[in-house]
């Protein structure tokens, strides 16, 4: 197919538009810190007995491949087929276990770095994942400060795939609690309004501090406020949590690059437009000469 000048210009303008729209989709939306009215979960590590009911309820509700009750010695890793697990901390002969799944950060590194918009915030503020949009690039896995997203590979194509906790969005949108919190029999996982959970967490920490000065609350302010917070009986790093999680600098640079990309795209589009106008003018002049 021969592309004449007019055709080329039209195509160029169209491409610029698509790139521009795409860039808009990638744009970093400045997000306010969690309002406190958000729904959230509080995990009280001191109340966990390690029954793995949360793990099993998640598997069962989300139709993921199940296994018999795992051993803390060999705790399952998070994967596209395992959205919540228990982080094991050996204490003498016993285990202390921290439920580990997506924290649904208010300022989520994964959303920041995702180049295809597969990771985004939903209307309730949780980090949602769209498998259709995922290119399997693995930026989310590289940048999450909690190590939550893990890539598997498509069995047929071998392409990377990710999947993770949805905060039971379909249940929560219908006024139901998350499956893991509903299944928790000891009250270690509670679900509700973030402000209420923070109140409860504060009281619980005060109570625990009487016996254990290491007791602390994690997730109140980290990354704009996490939607999964913890009452811990040890320092966060003991439980494998970063003390001061940050959106990695690479993600910040990517954010800047995104805007830069938009700028370049706009400039390119403007250039194309200008080029088009100049070309039109020249063509018009050429016509006059003839």
């Amino acid at each position: 197919m021969k592309l004449d000048r007019r055709g080329f210009l039209k195509a160029s303008a169209g491409t610029a538009g698509v790139v521009l729209l795409g860039s808009q989709g990638l744009g970093t939306v400045a997000r306010a810190a969690s309002s406190g009215q958000d729904l959230a979960m509080l995990v009280d590590v001191s109340k966990c007995v390690g029954c793995w009911w949360c793990y099993a309820a998640c598997k069962n509700y989300n139709s993921l491949t199940e296994t018999i009750k795992p051993d803390p010695e060999d705790s399952p890793e998070l994967s596209p087929d395992c959205w919540t697990t228990l982080f094991p901390l050996k204490k003498g002969d016993d285990w202390s276990l921290r439920k580990q799944a997506c924290m649904h950060c208010t300022d989520a590194a994964c959303v920041e770095v995702c180049p295809t918009g597969a990771l985004s915030y939903n209307e309730l503020g949780f980090v949602q994942y769209d498998r259709e949009k995922c290119s399997g690039c693995g930026y989310c896995a590289q940048n999450c400060p909690f190590g939550i997203p893990q890539l598997g590979s498509n069995r047929i194509t071998g392409a990377g795939v990710m999947d993770k906790c949805t905060f039971c969005i379909d249940r929560v949108s219908n006024g139901q609690p998350t499956a893991c919190s509903e299944a928790c029999t000891t009250g270690a996982i509670t679900f509700g309004q973030r402000s209420e959970l923070l109140d409860n967490a504060g009281k619980r920490v005060t109570e625990l501090e009487k016996q254990n000065p290491s007791a602390n609350l994690y997730g109140k302010t980290e990354l704009g406020g996490l939607h999964v917070m913890y009452v811990l009986d040890e320092a966060p790093d003991t439980y494998g949590l970063p003390v001061d999680p940050q959106v990695p600098a690479a993600a910040e640079v990517r954010g800047i690059l995104k805007w830069l990309g938009i700028g370049v795209t706009v400039a390119a589009a403007a250039g194309f437009g200008l080029n088009y106008l100049i070309a039109r003018m020249r063509i018009a002049r050429g016509g006059e000469r003839e």
Partner: protein, 358 residues
């Protein structure tokens, strides 16, 4: 309809419960990633009780680890007292595994299904019951003697007033004690948490003005001596494997008897001189199929055992008057009542001198 749809696990009461939320695999194992049944069912755990329940119900499970229902230490202690060798691989141990061990109950066999010994099967979908079903669980095993007594199934013997008049199920008296106290005990009478009549009828100690019999006999007679009726006694049980290797047993027809004897386990908790005695099925040759003389010191334990018949009545033939008992040799276990080869074993419980008439 698919086969799995016929399984009784679809009750919404179960599916909406905490146990129902977590799916099958966490407790029962198997491989949920495959659709082919044989592969999916590999390494499946049919009765996950011990491992499955302990984490959440640790308080009860820890107690239950040493309960009679779990350890069967009641059987073991009596066999060992009679010189039985229960060491791994011994003839008696094999007999124990083939027969006695069938009475072991797991958590689930009381709280979700019927006991395996009685054929198993879920009681009410897969719904867990905090209090087991009297009919499907307790009486499934404890039916021939206690169950028949309690419900009044023995010919011409009325049921227990606690059932016939008050409709009390087993659990009304027997609650947490069934999980034991955490101590390994040799029989149910050694369980300090066992139900006692006085738990409810504490007034027996204070109504002595109105009730001279209580004043006279309390502390000397077990309650059942005056307040229970004839009960089933078994004998000559012989265990074996049939031609197909399936455990089986034979015994003499049971006898309805009421026999008062001397207390074989007199203690501070059970100070009574006289108690009701029951003959259980065991005899010296019960395990002869597995080897000769497996209980070399058979006479070390009486074959007439302390009993608490569950057919309690306010009025019984023996409490009609003083002389219903006093001087009535028929009510007492005498040498004539005991099989000649068991007399030595029962020396300590046979009544030599019948209480004189008033």
């Amino acid at each position: 309809m698919e086969v799995w749809e016929k399984a009784y696990i679809k009750d919404s009461k179960f599916l909406e419960s905490s146990h129902g939320m977590v799916g099958c695999v966490i407790c029962h194992g198997g491989d949920s990633s495959v659709e082919e049944k044989e592969t999916a069912h590999q390494e499946i755990v049919i009765d996950p009780s011990e491992e499955g329940c302990n984490t959440c119900h640790s308080d009860i499970a820890l107690l239950n680890d040493n309960s009679l229902h779990t350890t069967l230490s009641g059987f073991k202690s009596k066999l060992e007292a009679r010189g039985g060798d229960l060491s791994e691989g011994s003839a008696l141990d094999t007999a124990f595994d083939n027969h006695c061990q069938q009475c072991h109950t797991s958590c689930g066999q009381c709280h979700v299904s019927r006991p395996d010994e009685m054929g198993g099967g879920l009681v009410s979908s897969h719904v867990f019951k905090k209090t087991p079903s009297m009919q499907n669980n307790c009486i499934a095993c404890h039916g021939a003697r206690v169950g028949d007594e309690y419900l009044g199934n023995n010919e011409n013997v009325p049921g227990d007033v606690h059932w016939t008049q008050a409709g009390m199920t087993c659990a009304r008296c027997h609650g947490q004690e069934l999980h034991g106290t955490g101590m390994l005990v040799s029989d149910r009478y050694s369980n300090s948490a066992s139900a006692q009549c006085e738990d409810c009828h504490a007034d027996v100690w204070t109504d002595t003005d109105d009730n001279p019999q209580h004043q006279q006999h309390l502390g000397d007679l077990d309650c059942q001596v005056c307040h229970s009726l004839a009960y089933k006694n078994c004998s000559s049980c012989h265990v074996a494997l049939d031609e197909e290797g399936v455990p089986c047993r034979t015994s003499e027809p049971s006898q309805m008897l009421f026999k008062i004897g001397l207390n074989p386990i007199r203690s501070a908790e059970r100070p009574y001189q006289y108690v009701v005695l029951r003959h259980p099925p065991t005899c010296a040759g019960t395990c002869d199929y597995y080897g000769s003389d497996l209980l070399p010191d058979f006479d070390a334990e009486p074959t007439w055992k302390y009993a608490t018949p569950h057919n309690i009545q306010l009025h019984t033939p023996q409490n009609e008057s003083c002389n219903s008992c006093h001087g009535n040799a028929d009510l007492f276990l005498t040498e004539d009542d005991v099989a000649p080869d068991e007399i030595e074993a029962n020396r300590g419980v046979i009544v030599i001198e019948i209480p004189a008439p008033e």
